[in-house]
């Protein structure tokens, strides 16, 4: 498989070669991977919004998410950042009554197009959840699960090892791959979930507050990991923690809760989206400045 080989290659040249092969190996109904390049857009959101059973949760979000960037979404609770994140790999499809408005392009193709299969989308756009959710299986089987269900059964041992190395977990677990994953610490479990995700060689990894259940040391390891992983993947992270966004992300989106005139309905709205440094040092919008400086929470 072209995807499997690409992992072994390092550096920009290797990535480009792998991307080219992947583009050639595209099958009908599957998304094409574009050639690599810093400013290439992975997602383009044009007036995107989500509602649950007719109640708007987020609306009118327009932003581009770039390849090999860590893109952070910050904002107060209830501003819809997780909701927005879950749109990007169609996890919201699982919630009855959820509906997406506006345009959501992935490598230029409509993510919600009629012929798009959400299962295919999730193969390319992986997700790491807030609470570590290892499967009740061995460490090995956790990582091997994705390749197995996708039918990539050759060189499974190698795939598992590379994924665990990629998640900086290999040295800690190589002697107990057959142990139950619940025996790992919270931080190790979360890195296992990241390994599980990269074992299927996705294009983009979505992370929904991946460190909110972890201690500072584990958090630091995962942040280092993100910076390492963005060489190979594009990462979108939702976080409560502004310092975390400042540390790991290249671009930051600030979302806020907006109320209607009667204050009956509330929804999330994108306030500002820019280079992380600009958001934290010289934001354009007063509301962003109030939030990042801690005046409002």
């Amino acid at each position: 498989m072209a995807q499997d080989e690409s992992r072994a290659e390092t550096g920009r040249a290797g990535r480009e070669a792998a991307a080219e092969r992947a583009a050639i190996a595209v099958r009908p109904g599957e998304f094409r991977r574009g050639p690599s390049g810093k400013r290439e857009k992975v997602f383009e959101l044009k007036g995107a919004g989500v509602s649950y059973g007719g109640v708007t949760a987020v609306r009118d979000i327009s932003m581009d998410i770039h390849r090999n960037d860590v893109t952070a979404m910050i904002g107060p609770s209830g501003c819809g950042k997780s909701t927005l994140l879950r749109c990007l790999n169609r996890m919201n499809d699982l919630i009855p009554g959820a509906e997406v408005q506006g345009e959501l392009l992935y490598h230029g193709e409509d993510l919600y197009g009629q012929t798009v299969d959400p299962v295919q989308v999730r193969k390319l756009i992986g997700m790491v959840f807030q609470k570590p959710n290892p499967f009740p299986k061995s460490i090995y089987d956790n990582v091997a699960f994705g390749p197995r269900v996708l039918g990539h059964k050759e060189n499974l041992d190698q795939t598992v090892e590379e994924a665990l190395r990629g998640a900086a977990l290999w040295d800690e677990v190589k002697d107990r791959l057959d142990d139950n994953a619940f025996g790992l610490s919270g931080g190790q479990q979360q890195r296992l979930c990241i390994a599980r995700c990269i074992a299927v060689n996705p294009d983009t990894i979505l992370m929904d507050e991946p460190c909110s259940a972890l201690d500072p040391i584990s958090t630091g390891k995962i942040e280092d990991l993100m910076i390492e992983l963005k060489k190979e993947f594009s990462i979108v992270i939702v976080t409560h923690n502004m310092q975390q966004a400042a540390r790991v992300s290249d671009r930051t989106a600030f979302l806020m809760v907006e109320l209607d005139a009667e204050e009956d309905n509330r929804w999330g709205r994108l306030v500002e989206y820019d280079e992380t440094e600009k958001i934290f040092t010289n934001p354009t919008d007063q509301r962003t400045e109030d939030y990042v400086s801690g005046k409002v929470g």
Binding site: N89, M91, L94, P96, V119, Q120, R122, K123, L124, G126, M127, F129, K131, N133, P134, F135, P136, F145, G146, R148, V149, L150, F182, C193, R196, C197, V200
Partner: protein, 313 residues
């Protein structure tokens, strides 16, 4: 400064007051509460003792009466109308085992399938799915004799027209315990955390792959518990079997589909117990011991399986 000087004694007073109140709250539990607690705990203990007493009385009676008649020959000898000393339960034991095997074959795929549909696929906001749910709860409470009549009308005669064969008995018992299996399997499936399903789907697994490889293996222990209960119930039922062809004096080993009658342990026990001779009644008590042994053997297999699959989150 003057202000803080005035405040200091006030603060000390407040602290002392708070401390005294706390101490009073912690140490002086009102006597009434203590007594009420003891009465309540005593009543709960009484409840469990009454439940246990019934069971113990039953077991003691069966063992006292049945022990003299109990021997390993009971497992190998056929029944007899005349000679209680050489009468046994062999056809009845085999009949019960075959009945139960049929029940398991029928009830596991259908029960688990129905539970999976209701938990994973059915839209609970739809009235027909809620109707199905309520009806399954009600079916679990229908008296077993009704299932006997159903089996007679639809399985022995009627549409299926199997005749009075062991398979008909099996199907009837399976219908009887099916709601129990569905309810238990649903509970087990519901207990699998949603985060497992989401994690699997987020890796690009299909819904069926998620169910087959994550949800089902994780709910095996709960499903097995349901099957243990269902099988125990099916093993003990005599009433519906009497209607669908179980007979007391079968001297040959049962065949699932042949037209010959078959026997089952509870039916055999019932028959011995209604014989006039004292020896036969002792035999009935011994039959209860035999049935308990069969039941324990089957359940221990299921419990062993369950412990093998036991998971924690």
């Amino acid at each position: 400064m003057a202000e803080s000087g005035a405040a200091a004694p006030r603060n000390r007073l407040a602290v002392a007051g708070a401390r005294a109140t706390t101490q009073a709250m912690l140490s002086n539990q009102p006597r009434g509460d203590v007594i009420r607690n003891m009465i309540f705990a005593g009543l709960l203990l009484l409840a469990i003792l009454i439940a246990l007493a019934g069971l113990v009385a039953l077991l003691v009676q069966a063992f006292v009466k049945g022990a003299p008649a109990f021997s390993l020959d009971l497992f190998t000898n056929g029944p007899s109308r005349i000679r209680p000393e050489s009468a046994g339960f062999r056809p009845a034991i085999l009949g019960s085992l075959e009945l139960i095997a049929g029940v398991i074959l029928f009830v596991v795929p259908i029960g688990v399938g129905a539970a999976l549909y209701l938990e994973e696929y059915a839209d609970k906001t739809r009235w027909w799915n809620r109707l199905i749910e309520v009806n399954i709860q009600n079916l679990a409470a229908v008296p077993s004799i009704i299932y006997g009549i159903l089996g007679l009308g639809f399985i022995v005669r009627g549409p299926l027209d199997l005749g009075f064969v062991l398979a008909a008995g099996s199907l009837t018992l399976a219908l009887l315990v099916l709601p129990m299996v569905i309810i238990a399997a649903r509970e087990a499936i519901r207990a699998v955390p949603d985060s497992i399903r989401q994690g699997s789907l987020a890796l690009g697994a299909t819904k069926w792959q998620t169910i087959r490889r994550q949800v089902l293996p994780a709910s095996v222990p709960g499903i097995l518990t349901g099957i243990i209960l269902a099988v125990s119930r099916a093993l003990g039922e005599a009433a519906p079997l009497l209607l669908v062809g179980a007979a007391a004096f079968v001297t040959f080993d049962p065949q699932p589909f042949s037209g010959d009658r078959y026997s089952a342990l509870p039916v055999q026990i019932y028959n011995y117990a209604t014989q006039p001779q004292e020896e036969f009644r002792a035999l009935a008590a011994a039959g209860i011991i035999v049935m308990l042994i069969v039941l324990l053997a089957m359940n221990s297999v299921a419990i062993w399986l369950r412990n093998r699959y036991e998971q924690r989150w």
